[in-house]
């Protein structure tokens, strides 16, 4: 077991390094650099940057150097726990991400909790009462939830919210409390703004998890050990929760690998549409502006989270499912 974990950890470190190289290379792929996209942005707002100014900016940002020099420079910073300065925001990358990171975590965790609280019971119900009206309803709603792109849902809710309830458009705070220091009022304000994004973000996930839970549980319910448990005279609730549900949970454990990066990035598209100050839109903007250090750091962060998540789910699976343990050793 220990050797297994050790091997995984080593592999993870290597993967993270590979991700850092790849992400830096990918960000460099589109034509131009931060200065070109800056010039273009100026042009669209009716301003002009001359060729000389552009050259000057390139020198200032060190963009004229070969890519491996830029990479090594960045790595030197990263190793020291300093991720450099964002070219666009002109602040340390850590601060720029830090501003948004915890808000992103709050939203994502809220969405995740909502997903699981809804999905597990509905999934179990659907499987146990297969082909009942309740199952049909859950299936119907589930498929709609899967089929409707959630940014579209976000747009519709945003518009309805404004037209019907005169709700504040987008964001997580009312403007008055945007920059206020933390207080009970501000926390309550956040809590009031949270349900809509959490619901939208959670809905597609919920639909998916309901389907997975239902399918897995249906497989398990037909197995002989369930009959055995029942014949031993256990109550129906115990029979289902104790054995087949536990087995059916396996896929949930293996998706943790994807859940972790999701928690720190949030959904990019939904965040954009709802105007949520999360890490997702920041990444998109950084990529468009070719803000190397910021984009690189976020991609690296997501990579690290994916690796850690995968590592966790590997270990978790070994722990909950003895069969995997045996195969490994």
């Amino acid at each position: 077991m220990l050797a297994y974990v050790g091997r995984r950890v080593l592999l993870a470190v290597f993967t993270v390094w590979a991700i850092s190289v790849l992400s830096f290379a990918i960000i460099q792929l589109p034509p131009g650099d931060y200065v070109t996209s800056y010039i273009a942005q100026m042009a669209s707002s009716g301003s002009v940057v001359t060729e000389e100014e552009a050259q000057n900016l390139r020198i200032q940002y060190g963009l004229g150097q070969p890519i491996y020099v830029q990479y090594l420079k960045w790595m030197k910073l990263v190793v020291r726990g300093d991720f450099g300065q964002s070219m666009e925001w002109k602040r340390p990358v850590i601060e720029v991400i830090g501003d948004r990171l915890w808000l992103t975590v709050v939203i994502s965790v809220a969405a995740l909790i909502l997903t699981w609280v809804l999905a597990l019971p509905i999934g179990i119900y659907s499987a146990v009462r297969q082909y009942s009206p309740g199952d049909y309803l859950a299936t119907f709603v589930g498929f709609i939830g899967l089929a409707v792109p959630n940014f579209l849902l976000a747009l519709v809710l945003l518009y309805l919210g404004f037209v019907l309830f005169n709700a504040h458009i987008g964001g997580l705070f009312t403007p008055e409390l945007q920059d206020a220091p933390w207080s009970a009022a501000r926390a309550w304000d956040l809590a009031k703004h949270l349900p809509i994004p959490a619901l939208i973000l959670g809905l597609a996930g919920t639909a998916q998890q309901v389907r997975i839970m239902r399918a897995n549980l249906l497989d398990e319910l037909r197995k002989p050990y369930v009959v055995t448990a029942r014949s031993k005279g256990l109550s129906e609730l115990r029979v289902i929760l104790k054995y087949p549900v536990r087995m059916a949970l396996n896929p949930f454990a293996s998706t943790i690998g994807y859940t972790l990066p999701y928690i720190v990035s949030g959904s990019i598209i939904v965040s954009l549409v709802l105007g949520l100050p999360t890490v997702g839109p920041l990444l998109l903007k950084a990529l468009i502006a070719q803000d190397m250090f910021l984009a690189g750091t976020i991609v690296l962060l997501l990579g690290v989270m994916t690796v850690i998540g995968t590592l966790l789910s590997d270990i978790l699976l070994v722990w909950i499912d003895p069969r995997i343990r045996i195969e490994e050793t």
């Binding site: 273009a40 942005q41 300065q85 666009e88 987008g170 403007p175 920059d179 965040s271």
Partner: protein, 673 residues
Amino acid sequence: MTTRWSRLTAVLVVGFLSGAVAVGALAQSAGKTSLVGKLEGPEVVTDAGKAPKAFKEAPQLAALVKAGKLPPVAERIGQDPLVIKPLKEIGKYGGTWRAGFTGPADFWNGFRCCSGPDHLMFWDYTGDKAVPNLARGLEMQDGGRAWLVRLRRGMKWSDGKPFTSDDFVFWFEDIYRNKDLNPTPSAAMAINGKQGVIEKVDTYTVRFKFLEPYYMFPDVLAGSTDLAGQWGAYKSMGGFAPAHYLKQFHPRYVGEAELDKKAKDAKFDSWVRLFVYKNDWALNPDLPVLSAWKTATPINTPTWTLERNPYSVFVDTAGNQLPYIDKVVLTLAENLEVLNLRAIAGEYDYASRHVDLGKLPVFLENQAKGNYKVYLDPGDYCDLIIKFNLNYDADPELGKWFNTADFRRALSLGIDRDQINETFWLGTGTPGSVVPVDSNKYNPGPQYRKLWSTLDIKKANEMLDKIGLAKKDAQGYRMRADGKGRLRIEIMTLGGQFVQYTQISEMIREQWKKIGIDLQVQEVERSLALKRTAANEQQLAAWNNDGSEHLFTFPQHVFPFELAAVATSGPHWVKWFHSAGEQGKEPEPRMKELMEKWKKAFGVPEKERIQLGKDIWRIAAEEVYIIGVVGQGPAAMGVRVVKNNMGNIPSRMYNSPDAKTPGISRPATFYYK
């Protein structure tokens, strides 16, 4: 990723605006007339005899004075206030102006609303005449070779330190001429390529000296040029800078070791980046400024807040120190849809930047609910132009046609401008050539609006037949003269802009089928567009010519002037022009004539210059180097949404980057009723 995003954008736009299309008729019935008002604006009172003798101030500042934390208001303003006669009435102090911005690159947003503007000279509300602004007066000497700038006595920076000629000398010697901060001299400081100098005359007088007559100088100080105040500071321009503050970050005044440590502590690679940061109006709240409001929380945070400058030199005719409004709060909008929806919902007090003309019907529908009024501020320029790359050499046959005047003219005649105007401008634009609005002083005459710019398919076909493109293929498209199949032209467009270039180009593609021209529309990402224009790979490109109404301070959409452009008329000619013929390629005779006239205009008196300006536009319209399609519309920042309780709002204002609109309407005089 790209296709996914463009699909997403398409869905967003279509889905969200389906309602808008349905009520499109509403906008048309509301029409151009009721939404476009009379051009009006506040005026600067230049007669010192009419200046108020006693001053009043905002209650918060009065309290500070009472507490002994601030000198009395008269002392803060100085002997020579900058008096502005508000458009309608004397306002009241107080309130917060709420608006949106899109991130750190949107710094123009704040300069346009809140800087005052802090130019030495500035335009009157018509945008035509440069009048004294921060400068008390400007005096021409030595036949235009020297300009004496008189400063306002006792005027102060926002930290209370005097604003004097030393701030000009410091900027000139230590910023402008410092090779690390500014490796290349600015054209604004030169006439005929010869650099000028700045001299101190006395504490409140500065002399700009040039080797040849520089009659354009007042306009250069007024426009958004390199000598136009602190907005240019991020690129080491501006004309002046707060010497007393910036010296602590400059190697001439601080030891190298100490400065390196300062840069390191602030996590900058070099003193240069530290200096540029400290000298940034939008980023550094500590920077002393001369503007009406000053940055309180910087632009790289979710809320960009600007507060009144207690030392503001602006006053109204009753002696009230301006601005009236306490605070300007710009909140970060993650995307333009959210920004527009917030404006529709009435969450902004005043918004014009980033407001989408396509959503006009929705804005109108919600006027009462959002308690705001919609105004249109059409620009004086063309919202959609098509540039031919006259240096295109990747395909010599195409290059030849682009350089054939009748080819360009025929293509222009093949465009149905009315259809485009109705569809994309909801009928609010003016179809026509590239020349600026008729009232512009450089407009060559009303007949040039329509020259080669009306729909005439018959004539267009005749012209194309005549120049040697008579042969057509089975589908009715014209064949190349070199026998290599169909004549295919590509137009480059950018998405996500103020004007829907791609969609309009698609419509032109349909229209040009009638004259047998096969147009391919290619939407590209911005950086790619820049790369392709610089590499001479662009054939045609769609863009707008905003700023060109100020022909001499903003020439890049009249002739090839900038290499870093998203649409070019010819990169080789740009190089030729700037290297005085040493690099690049020599332009064709009429283009050369146009360039010569433009250069000449800087050194001649105004009357002659106006004639030269008219000549330039006449050549441009006759030669159709650039096709004008629809202009004088409100597409670029011309849809203005203003709360009903805001006062001193003009019913129409001059709309141009050169005038920092709404800066030209002096937002310092806006107030809450």
